[in-house]
């Protein structure tokens, strides 16, 4: 094909891809080393390390779902306004009138799926004993990523601002009220008094810190929105990078010695 040939020989193409198509052994190796996205991978891998019956592909699927959540989430952010006035109406419009309102379905079901695939990934890692040395620390990062995944889902749960959202977050965050010492209904909060004045009240305890208010209201909506869209995704991205880097540094995917 002459046109294809011309394109592949053009200066533009060659400036992007610094070697021919990965059709022979040499170029299949070079592509892994010269492509930014592919260089996460090793050049070669044991056959059993990529067997689906061994890996279940669940870590990869979890990461892919994270990307799906990022893309659909950014698109939803163009539309959705996190205020008492608009939050519910925007979601309602996404359901009933907006073209591509299915983005919300993709985002929500992707989120549920991501929680499940995270659990399954951990389950696989446990069952193959892959948390054992030298991968102990990467397992610890994985546990933090699990927490962040749950927090991402939890903060996102509030944003539709319907009955399901507000009460799920109310029930969930009521726990923080019972934090020992730091929650105003928690054991030992009576100990934090200065000169007879309680330091821990419903306006200064752990739950207040989480909600930004005494109950789930507009401050909470704003707080969860920022956590959901900026803070937690940033932290997750950083830890994901470390997680993947450590997979390589700790000897790649596990296998019998």
């Amino acid at each position: 094909m002459a046109i294809g040939e011309t394109i592949r020989n053009s200066q533009i193409w060659k400036s992007i891809f610094r070697h021919p198509m990965p059709l022979d052994r040499r170029n299949r190796i070079v592509v892994m080393l010269t492509n930014f996205f592919l260089h996460l991978h090793p050049v070669s891998i044991k056959k059993q390390g990529i067997a689906l019956s061994f890996t279940w592909c669940m870590g990869g699927v979890t990461f892919f779902l994270f990307l799906v959540e990022t893309v659909t989430g950014v698109l939803l952010m163009f539309y959705y306004r996190p205020t008492l006035e608009w939050a519910y109406n925007d979601i309602l419009a996404l359901r009933d009138v907006t073209s591509l309102g299915i983005l919300r379905e993709l985002h929500r079901w992707g989120a549920h799926a991501m929680v499940i695939t995270t659990w399954l990934h951990m389950y696989r890692v446990f069952l193959t004993g892959s948390y054992k040395p030298p991968r102990e620390f990467n397992w610890v990062i994985g546990v933090i990523l699990l927490l962040l995944t749950l927090l991402l889902s939890f903060t996102g749960y509030l944003l539709p601002w319907d009955q399901l959202a507000i009460w799920a977050i109310t029930v969930g965050s009521n726990m923080a009220r019972a934090t020992p010492i730091l929650g105003y209904e928690g054991p030992g909060q009576q100990l934090l008094t200065i000169g007879g004045i309680d330091m821990i009240t419903d306006g200064s305890d752990a739950r207040f810190g989480l909600l930004g208010a005494r109950f789930v209201g507009e401050e909470t909506l704003n707080r969860f929105y920022v956590l959901h869209c900026i803070a937690i995704p940033l932290a997750t991205s950083l830890l994901l990078a470390i997680h993947f880097w450590r997979v390589r540094k700790d000897g790649g995917i596990s296998g019998p010695l």
Binding site: L38, Q48, E105, W109, S130, Y131, P133, Q163, T170, G217
Partner: protein
């Protein structure tokens, strides 16, 4: 509320597709087995099952509500009547135990396939019950149904490999994973798998999004409390723990300990075997502890909290209508009450009016002495006692600090099942109850 014609007509379309899916699934299985030629008996069996499923599908699609296949009302009533938190917990425990002990039997493909078919048919028959369907088909609950089947599938995948590996290791052979250690290039072998995975997940997610609308209820109102009010589904195991513990423990301390325990796991598990391949025999202890925590204390509690807890967090059978008027007798007693009043026939120790702080604290300690002694024995005496008996080898290998962390984490994990048992048998509410400091355990 019992199943009525309107509901059945609504669900009939779904069930028609559902049984057709099972029929196709079995048809394909029959075809594959038939072409392999080594198990013609099973091939015929699955072909017959496929035929039966087609009949069920046509019955569901017949347009007549009375023909939709369903469980007899008497069976549903019986299930409702029998089910309760005690039977649910003991039943799932027994089920897991049987599956584990006879795992060599259950991992056989034909056995597993039979179990899958039975589960799917029971699920289909149950879906013809309005109360069951209304809970299971709630949009946010659908992922949990998926989770149950996926967990079952992947546990089967893992266990069948572990069984083979365990047999090989017993014969002195390396695990199966070792046989496949020829190296391949990541391009194309891995990148193409990843591409196909991405396409498959995208397709799956799109289909899911098209067919199931995301839930959107009435606008938020902080004065209209729904009954029941539930946390997001992945936290319902924690919410279920609130039945047995106060929020400070069930909602804060225990979850923190779960996270801490998960992080500590690789540093506590000193067993060097079973690294990088599926095995059960080589690491039975850690396997059982993890499975107990994951399946028994996390997944089954989520399922209980999602599907079987209705208004006022009361227990409802799978086919029971969620009435807010169900009354459950709560006659739970605290341990101080049991000890001082019921056993010694004396009033609870109380500090005199206007007593100093020291007297007050002393009285509380006296009142709670039985509970504190029990807890102290559990958390302080038990670890060293176990170290010289059951865990003698563990203690020797792990050293003092690691052993103490492990034993305390395990004892904390066991507080939940122990408290459940104490609740069911003795109606015990709190072991230690110090409302003065909001400290109830």
């Amino acid at each position: 509320m019992h199943s009525n014609g309107f509901f059945l007509k609504d669900v009939a379309g779904f069930l028609g597709g559902y049984y057709t899916f099972i029929a196709i699934m079995n048809g394909v299985a029959a075809l594959i087995l038939w072409r392999r030629k080594n198990q013609p008996g099973w091939a015929i069996t699955w072909a017959v099952v496929a035929g039966v499923m087609m009949v069920l599908a046509s019955l569901a699609l017949s347009g007549s509500a009375s023909l939709v296949p369903s469980l007899p009302l008497s069976v549903r009533m019986l299930v409702n009547k029998l089910s309760g938190p005690v039977l649910y917990t003991l039943g799932t425990t027994a089920l897991f135990t049987v599956l584990f002990v006879f795992r060599k039997f259950f991992v056989k493909p034909m056995v597993a396939w039979t179990v899958l078919n039975v589960a799917l048919v029971i699920m289909g028959l149950s879906m013809a019950d309005e109360n069951f369907a209304s809970i299971v088909m709630k949009a946010d609950n659908v992922p949990i149904v998926g989770l149950i089947f996926m967990l079952a599938f992947f546990t089967w995948v893992a266990t069948s490999q572990a069984v083979v590996n365990d047999e090989r290791i017993a014969q002195g052979l390396p695990p199966m994973e070792k046989l496949n250690d020829e190296k391949v290039l990541v391009w194309p072998d891995l990148v193409y798998t990843e591409l196909i995975c991405m396409v498959a997940v995208s397709a799956f997610l799109l289909v899911w999004a098209i067919f199931l609308q995301a839930p959107l209820e009435e606008p938020a109102s902080s004065v209209k409390t729904p009954n029941p009010s539930k946390a997001p589904w992945y936290f319902l195991g924690l919410q279920e723990m609130l039945v047995y513990f106060d929020p400070w423990y069930a909602g804060v301390v225990l979850p923190s300990m779960v996270v801490f325990g998960l992080m500590a796991m690789p540093y506590l598990d000193f067993n060097k075997k079973g690294n990088g391949y599926y095995s059960i025999e080589e690491r039975k202890f850690s396997y059982l502890v993890y499975q107990f925590g994951f399946f028994e204390l996390w997944i089954t509690l989520i399922i209980l909290g999602t599907f079987l807890r209705g208004p006022n967090w009361n227990f409802f059978g799978p086919f029971e209508y969620w009435t807010p008027y169900k009354v459950e007798v709560l006659n739970n007693v605290d341990l101080p009450q049991m000890f001082w009043v019921n056993l010694l026939d004396r009033p609870l120790p109380r500090a005199p009016q206007g007593a100093g702080l020291l007297t007050q604290v002393g009285t509380i300690l006296l009142r709670e002495a039985p509970g504190l002694a029990l807890l102290g024995a559990y958390l302080v005496l038990l670890p060293p006692l176990l170290a010289v008996t059951v865990f003698r080898k563990f203690f020797a290998k792990m050293g003092f600090v690691r052993y103490m962390i492990m034993s305390n984490l395990m004892l904390l994990m066991l507080t939940l099942p122990l408290k459940m048992i104490l609740r069911w048998t003795l109606n015990l509410r709190y072991i230690v109850s110090i409302p003065e400091f909001s400290l109830n355990f």
